[in-house]
């Protein structure tokens, strides 16, 4: 899905801008999420010299910028400030948490200054990447430390820190997709309606959690407003992968064409009273619901409601 493009004016309206120092992991992150690359295979990744474009559903596009060594005039002369404009732009700054964090942060402030000069409310998402191999304690320490430093500096420099968020990420697990999900939700059209519908579905059918997934990246586009447990999200991703692998053997039976007729429905039974329901919403998204404390008679009710909710979401997205 990657295309090279030099023309700044043609950036998509709903966009995520991925920036950071060279080798912080930007291209690897996108290759793992969008091209299904195995994390180990990213070790031989070459430096990015030209901006890369990755398209997701709902018109959301992620841009991979070449690494910035230090924010000098020469390096950023050709980057028009208009890339930061608009209410559907979001900035992701990737930091190698096992590298030189201080240098990376000073470059980041230069970018934030420029971005906020054209768009004061642009969300700023700081990915502390490559936390694999670090203990849980060390991860928390790094996040605390960076968070304190960033907030202090931004206040001192009178930068707007209202829309700053921090994430601990690694390409070796689902944390990177979860982080991108949280970035993307602010760009999803009609997010509030989607959340409302998922909330009511969860409470009516006593579900623990419902996600609307983008099928190809497994980034979630929306979820109900209950807290998202990383373990549950990871498990949901693995469930989708298993379904995709298994259903591949039925490829010969499905006639291509009319989108809605081919929509798929899956029920995965786990130990005891735990079930996962997956309803395909349209060609690019599925609704996945988890019910860990299922009461026997709810089963058919959820199946019935689920199909109706999937249809409602399909109509909202149309």
């Amino acid at each position: 899905d990657i295309t090279q493009n030099k023309d700044e004016d043609s950036l998509a309206e709903r966009r995520v801008l991925l920036m950071g120092m060279p080798r912080s992991g930007k291209t690897s992150i996108l290759a793992v999420i969008f091209d299904n690359m195995q994390p180990y295979d990213t070790l031989s990744m070459l430096p990015t010299v030209q901006r890369g474009t990755y398209r997701m559903s709902m018109g959301i596009t992620v841009y991979d910028f070449p690494g910035i060594d230090d924010y000098s005039e020469t390096q950023y002369n050709n980057l028009s400030p208009s890339v930061y404009e608009g209410e559907h732009a979001s900035l992701v700054y990737v930091i190698d948490s096992q590298g030189d964090i201080q240098t990376s942060l000073s470059t980041m402030y230069s970018i934030i200054r420029m971005a906020q000069s054209v768009n004061p409310d642009i969300p700023i998402n700081i990915f502390l990447n490559k936390v694999d191999g670090l203990s849980e304690e060390l991860r928390q320490d790094i996040q605390q430390d960076v968070q304190n430093r960033v907030m202090k500096t931004m206040t001192y420099e009178s930068l707007n820190s209202t829309f700053v968020q921090f994430f601990l990420t690694t390409i070796f697990d689902e944390s990177i997709k979860e982080a991108l999900s949280r970035v993307v939700r602010r760009l999803v059209p009609k997010y509030n309606s989607l959340e409302t519908i998922l909330n009511s579905f969860c409470s009516k059918s006593s579900l623990d959690k419902a996600f609307l997934f983008d099928i190809s990246t497994k980034v979630f586009l929306a979820t109900d407003s209950s807290p998202t447990d990383s373990l549950m999200y990871m498990f949901a991703c693995h469930t989708l992968e298993a379904i995709q692998d298994i259903v591949a053997i039925c490829a010969g039976y499905t006639a291509m064409g009319e989108e809605e007729a081919g929509l798929q429905k899956t029920v995965v039974g786990m130990d005891g009273s735990f079930k996962i329901y997956v309803y395909q919403v349209n060609s690019y998204s599925v609704l996945l619901c988890l019910n860990t404390m299922l009461i026997a008679r709810q089963d058919s009710l959820i199946e019935y409601n689920g199909s109706k909710i999937a249809k409602a979401i399909r109509q909202i997205l149309r």
Partner: protein, 292 residues
């Protein structure tokens, strides 16, 4: 059997011990012979001898230990590392194994796995490599006529080879096959597959489209094994899958005490509930009559 580093312990860990391909990087060289016993298809137990491939052990196997190692063997699986530098000494070792097997276990079945095939990305070069091994091995194997498989821990070829090997050890296989075929006819299913519960190896498959091999079910084997491992992270265990759309219904359900069953129906007239009831109804028959 096979030289040190060929991949014997890796494949054993993948098939019988829930390792992932990445986990195999942690394995050290096998010391002497590692014996393990796995329950397979109900009453069967497979005794697996993983013979460490370093020189000192090999010498020992071919001399003092030869009766112990090569006596009472039912299956010899010889693993070739595709990248071995010295082909001559590799074949010498193979010949020695075959000789000893001829002396002590004349009725054994021999399989040779040409392993680490992922190192050759091109499909036609893979085939050429296998042909080369087939020709070389046919000449030097006397009465054993080994079957040759190309395998790798990075795709489902390993599951395919091991499914083939292991299903031939199940004594009642032809009966199971017959009964499964009858089940498929009665339920009007397009495809029915039996998987062994612990390993998820394919035991038997019935396909209304006779041309299609059982190879495609290896994808399911691997997907389910991976998923089952991942389920342990949330301390739960997988029970069943039911995938439906307008064109087909697919069920994966626990079947007998040692198997899972996969059923695919493509006739929209057949209600999913009926298929599920049929699976339930057939279960005691397979479990009690065929003892699987």
């Amino acid at each position: 059997m096979g030289r040190s580093g060929a991949g014997k312990t890796s494949m054993r860990s993948l098939i019988f011990a829930n390792y992932s391909a990445h986990d195999t990087r942690r394995l050290g060289a096998t010391i002497d012979v590692e014996h393990s016993t796995v329950q397979f298809m109900g009453d069967m137990s497979l005794n697996i001898w993983d013979c460490g491939g370093q020189h000192k052990y090999l010498d020992n196997y071919m001399n003092e230990q030869k009766e112990n190692i090569f006596g009472n063997v039912e299956v010899l699986i010889y693993v070739f590392d595709l990248e071995t530098a010295n082909k001559d000494s590799e074949y010498t070792l193979y010949d020695e194994c075959i000789n000893n097997l001829g002396k002590y276990s004349r009725d054994a079945k021999v399989y040779t796995l040409v392993h680490k095939m992922d190192k050759i990305p091109e499909a036609d070069l893979k085939e050429a490599k296998l042909d080369m091994y087939r020709r070389a091995l046919a000449k030097r194997s006397d009465l054993f006529m080994p079957e040759v498989f190309g395998t790798s821990i990075w795709d489902n070829t390993l599951f395919h080879a091991w499914s083939q090997i292991v299903r031939r050890l199940v004594p009642s296989m032809s009966t199971i096959e017959r009964h499964l075929e009858r089940f498929q006819k009665l339920t009007e299913a397009a495809e029915v597959v039996l998987f062994e519960r612990a390993t998820f190896l394919v035991v038997c498959s019935i396909n209304s489209d006779k041309g299609a091999g059982s190879n495609k079910y290896m994808i399911v084997s691997q997907a389910i094994k991976t998923y089952r491992n991942r389920c342990t992270a949330i301390q739960s265990a997988l029970q069943s899958f039911e995938i439906r759309n307008r064109d087909f219904s697919l069920f994966i359900e626990p079947f007998t005490k040692s198997t899972f069953i996969l059923v695919i129906t493509t006739d929209p007239e057949i209600e999913p509930a009926v298929t599920k009831a049929n699976i339930k109804a057939a279960q005691p028959h397979f479990q009690d009559k065929l003892l699987i």
